[in-house]
């Protein structure tokens, strides 16, 4: 009963292979003798969390009063965690804090400096160990994508991002399978699964009378090594839940065909019929940054310095390709001056560009951009239209 | 408490070129004493003062801001200060609503002939801010 990192759907030109993280040597796939699924009662689960809280930072879904939504918060005790019924709601962190922010914060200090000592730039203290509970499989897949994007490339022109890596190496992701996906979920259409393990260290499934815990990495196995091994009946129950959840997601996308169609539009920009398709699709888009900021794979950043009373810092701050400022040169020239070219860039990034860059789609089907778009733009409809309107 | 007494506020003063700046000048020429708390920025008209300037000053470490222009009816550009007055009124009420301490941002009219009044305004504003203590709410730190 070995839990395997499943392979994601491959699109044209995509490299096949394991999605095991290229970042962080700690995340070894679990050895077969430690891979046996375990069973955790709620009491054992609470004990595990309280033990971890004493050792490191623990984040888990918490119902937030102001927003009325579930978001990840640092917890001080197992009593704060809301796990009942959690497997039955949509993706966590639709609003508020999301797992991405714990690996790639919206504002992150790169260096501290003092203008009186030019040339001296001091890196911040290394991040602390953290464990994230209740990460959804789509978000796990997104982390695996970020691992690959932020890791060094073989051609050495793009070295590894040490800030991302430092956080990633000190992070353990404990997933929670979705028993009832939301109506905005479409992970299966982009190669994921409501019970997928990609990017995770341990996957929990809510069996209602306890959690089934399947180790994915050695890190994950270590958390549950002393728990009882699950029975055949537990495994069968999990299997049924996973199948039901999978069947609830009916959206399908021919991602390979989509990529071929999208790639054909690259050359005809500006004049070709594809441009009219993009213009029509982007009309309701107002180029705000909601979709990109909430997207678990969007990773663009700006670098900005600030100085206050003799102390300064260089920070990186999330940026969005939907903003005009994003691509505007200091001279005023803007290579993506039109709203539809910015809209297009985002969709192309998800379904074409990152396949060319690192061999993977960068849409994991979490549906956050659908539920958060102020004008109700639905990426599934966008993709449907593109498949219909663009020639193969 | 002693820290509070020693606290010397830093106040950014946006003074219109035609009246309040001249008023400050007169205060200086007349050797009228007032606290050395203000850092003057001369602007062509109080109508030039964007609320952004005021908030930016507070963000960048000012403990208070004073905006001063010509008395209503005396604007060198006829109506600049009238329009500015509406803007400042909204800013004043909104800052209060947001819980920025009343008195952090002050407005006054001082003419070129009112050297003593200028000194009096600075004394009053300084005293208010001294009582409020250092600006922490709007501060960048």
């Amino acid at each position: 009963m070995k839990a395997k990192g499943e392979r994601r759907k491959t699109a044209g030109g995509m490299r096949k292979g394991s999605r095991r993280s290229a970042v962080g040597g700690q995340r070894k796939a679990v050895s077969s003798e430690r891979s046996a699924p375990r069973i955790l009662t709620r009491a054992e689960f609470d004990r595990l969390i309280d033990e971890l809280v004493a050792k490191c930072a623990v984040y888990a879904p918490v119902a937030v009063e102001e927003t009325g939504k579930l978001e990840f918060r640092r917890i001080g005790s197992s009593s704060e965690v809301k796990l009942e019924g959690l497997a039955d709601v949509g993706v966590v962190g639709q609003l508020g804090l999301r797992p991405k922010e714990l690996l790639f914060p919206q504002c992150e200090v790169l260096f501290h400096f003092s203008p009186s000592e030019p040339g001296r730039m001091v890196e911040p203290e290394p991040p602390q160990e953290q464990v994230l509970f209740g990460v959804r499989p789509c978000d796990g897949a997104a982390v695996a994508f970020l691992d690959r994007f932020f890791s060094g490339r073989s051609d050495s022109s793009a070295p590894s991002d040490i800030y991302y890596r430092a956080r990633r190496e000190r992070t353990t992701l404990v997933g929670l399978a979705c028993n009832r996906p939301a109506d905005t979920c479409f992970c299966r259409a982009v190669g994921g699964s409501p019970s997928g393990t990609t990017g995770l260290d341990l996957l929990l499934t809510d069996l209602s009378d306890g959690f089934l815990a399947e180790p994915v990495t050695e890190k994950g196995a270590a958390l549950v090594a002393d728990m009882p091994v699950a029975s055949q009946a537990d495994m069968e129950k999990k299997q049924r839940l996973a199948e039901n959840a999978g069947q609830a997601i009916t959206t399908t996308i021919d991602t390979a065909s989509l990529k071929r169609r999208l790639d054909r539009t690259l050359v005809s920009e500006g004049s070709g019929p594809a441009d009219a398709v993009w213009q029509a699709l982007s009309l309701p888009c107002v180029n705000c940054g909601v979709c990109t900021f909430l997207c678990p794979t969007c990773r663009c950043f700006d670098v900005t310095d600030e100085e206050f009373r003799g102390r300064g810092r260089r920070m990186r701050v999330w940026d969005s390709c939907q903003f005009t400022l994003y691509s505007r040169h200091a001279s005023g020239h803007n290579p993506r001056a039109t709203p539809h070219s910015r809209f297009r860039n985002r969709v192309m990034d998800k379904f074409s560009y990152t396949v060319a860059m690192v061999g993977e789609l960068s849409c994991v089907g979490c549906g956050r951009c659908i539920s958060a778009c102020p004008n109700g733009i639905d990426i599934r409809e966008t993709v449907e239209t593109l498949l219909k309107m663009l020639p193969e | 408490m002693s820290e509070m007494q020693e606290f010397e506020p830093r106040i950014v003063a946006f003074l219109c070129n035609w009246c309040s700046y001249a008023g400050a000048d007169l205060a200086g020429i007349s050797r009228i004493q007032y606290p050395p708390s203000i850092r003057v920025i001369r602007v062509p008209c109080s109508g030039r003062v964007d609320p952004l300037f005021i908030l930016k000053a507070l963000q960048n470490g000012a403990d208070g801001v004073l905006v001063s222009g010509c008395h209503p009816g005396d604007c060198h550009y006829l109506t600049g200060n009238y329009v500015a007055r509406r803007r400042f009124a909204v800013l004043h009420d909104l800052l209060e609503f947001c819980g920025i301490e009343p008195g952090r941002v002050s407005f006054s009219w001082v003419s070129a002939a009112e050297g003593e009044r200028f000194a009096e305004v600075v004394r009053e504003v300084t005293e208010r801010i001294r009582k409020l203590g250092p600006n922490r709410r709007m501060n960048a730190e």
Partner: protein
Amino acid sequence: MTANPYRPIPVRIEQVTIENEARDLKSFELSFVNEEHRKGWHFVPGQFAFLSIAGVGEAPFGIASAPSEPLLRFTVKRIGTFTTALHELDRGSIIGLRGPYGNSYPWDLMTGRDVVIVSGGFSFTTLRATLVHILQPENRPGFGDVTVIYGARSPGELLYKEELKELEKRPDLRLVICVDRLNGADWPKTEGLVPNVLRQVAPAATNAVALVCGPPVMIRFTHPVLKELGFSPDRVFLSLENRMKCGIGKCGHCNIGPKFVCKDGPVFSYQELLTLPQEY
């Protein structure tokens, strides 16, 4: 511990030269503060680097000096926050440097061939580096005819004027300097827009490689002329300068389709650009 790719190394400004009449173009010549940094610094003409001022920020610039020159040179137009701050710095100031980044001009392809350099405005920087590199006595025999067409709006806006006057005398180089309007000046000798001058000069396309760098409008009108002259798209190379923040393919800003100008560029063949969206 791997080196932090975001960490700038300290360099000292050794020389500041005002390059144009408008005084908004300055050349900064830099030396390394630490010897080990100097030893570890290797670049090829066409590459760029980030200059960095703590508290102000960073910005990328093409390297205007050739590898053989003792000081690193950057020619910078005062246009934004960073460049304004840089322009205020004097000799002796310490700033930061990150790089070198990007590919370079296609030196393998250029070897043994004629080289045609077409440049306008202040983008001449990396092409100056290229030209100086080619003209090194040990390098010059490796190339065929070298033609340079360099234009600016007015005589006062030309970069590296004294150097250009010297280069004009060289027999092994065809250097045509032009300006949009001469306004009665006696130098340079040619009046006209770069694409038009290129058409008149008409360098042979057989066995030649063209390097183009300039403002977007010049690039747009230069392409058709090169095509007329018989340059195939795989022999025309452009150096692009999209907005960028990291230089190492992470921040996302400089993408043209799936390519990043910082790591896949800044030099692209026209052939490659034909397969990418026109986002440059």
